[in-house]
Symmetry: C2
DNA sequence: ATATGTAGTGAGTACTCACTCATTTTGCTT
DNA sequence: AAGCAAAATGAGTGAGTACTCACTACATAT
């Protein structure tokens, strides 16, 4: 029974994440959040002035904290290894915070303040490591001279499509893959292209 | 003044799409939908039993109609041309229905009935054309023998990331690109890979 | 003219929700 | 143990909501 002691405020935030992400911000009631947190409804308002304040508090340093830029030790590693480890690291983070991620993404549409915070603190930061790496590889001439912002987002999109599919929509109903295998194939497509190596003309020009 | 005559029901649906997509299902009030549609609140309930019925009606044949499978005339065309035209076609559809797309995607999380409908009728169908084409190219040995379901979703994700970014999050605040150029680069990355290859004859400057 | 059916209205109703506050409980200090 | 402030409580409040219904307006048939 090593129960970690959590501040009442955090306790309420955790409950809010769960309820918000299940019902949406407008669909959730403070009563339910209170029940989920195991406190009285009134207690919530000792820590947050309004229901919306709870939501806004969730995009702050709280999550950013766990997004501490992973320093990638790229020295002597292959591109495959580096990209794979970046992707796995990011996926791990998302999985650990999946409820929060879903919530922030969804509600960002309706709350401009949240949107700013979310994009700058979470999305931009998450994309940063990758963009930097790709930029370097382009500079050194090992990657094509494409726009690094496009290139990084393209890879994020490739991986993101599967996360979105699985976590936002249908779970494993239609497709489910071994994650390692999935990442491997994606990185492979990304790095070397889908066109067969021994390609002969016909298509090219 | 060639005003197209629209049924009252459609008029309400159109208004609902606008209000729902701006405020979310729970954030929208029937009063506002009525005002937006230019009818009395009571009128809404002559056509829909409940507010939720309005929402559910939106994922039906209405949108699917506009997703009529575009037959791609691939004969003699390069992969670049085919993929580009598929992507452009899909982007066009999404743009025309951007409010509805945002709405369905967002609310699919909270309404299982909607989710089934949306995924099967919209997402699956939209992905179908591409998957089929890729599958063929793999069979003919022109594409690597990757899993076509992975490959198709990877491309969708690449493109989707930009749509999501632009339409769901921040508009043009952080990045904006010429769409044709963007698609060109994405298709290029996808088809030939980001890694510089000697046989490509230098990078395309 | 009169009757009948249909579409439309908007004030009213029953109910829900975010938030308040008078009261009780907790935990600390002496 | 007594005193006290901070923390916690939950019934209460008023603003607002989805939905109803008694009614009006108008078209068509008799």
């Amino acid at each position: 029974m090593d129960r970690v002691i959590i501040s009442r405020e955090q306790q309420i935030k955790d409950a809010a994440i769960r309820v918000f992400s299940k019902k949406g911000f407008n669909g959730a009631t403070t009563k339910e959040i209170a029940r989920e947190a195991g406190v009285a409804e009134g207690t919530i308002f000792r820590y947050f002035r309004t229901k919306k304040d709870i939501l806004l508090s969730l995009a702050g340093p709280y999550i950013v904290e766990s997004l501490k830029t992973t320093l990638i030790n790229a020295a002597g590693k292959s591109d495959e290894a580096v990209l794979t480890s970046i992707i796995k690291n990011r996926l791990e983070l998302i999985k650990e915070n999946i409820d929060l991620a879903r919530l922030l993404f969804t509600e960002a549409q309706f709350h401009p303040e949240l949107r700013e915070n979310f994009t700058e603190n979470v999305v931009m930061r998450a994309a940063g490591v990758l963009e930097k790496y790709i930029d370097e590889r382009i500079s050194s001439g090992d990657f094509k001279a494409v726009d690094p912002r496009i290139a990084s987002r393209a890879l994020i999109g490739m991986v993101g499509a599967f996360v979105l599919w699985k976590e936002f929509l249908l779970g494993d109903k239609y497709i489910s893959f071994d994650e390692d295998e999935l990442i491997k194939q994606l990185v492979d497509i990304y790095l070397t292209g889908i066109r067969a190596e021994e390609w002969e003309g016909g298509m090219g020009s």
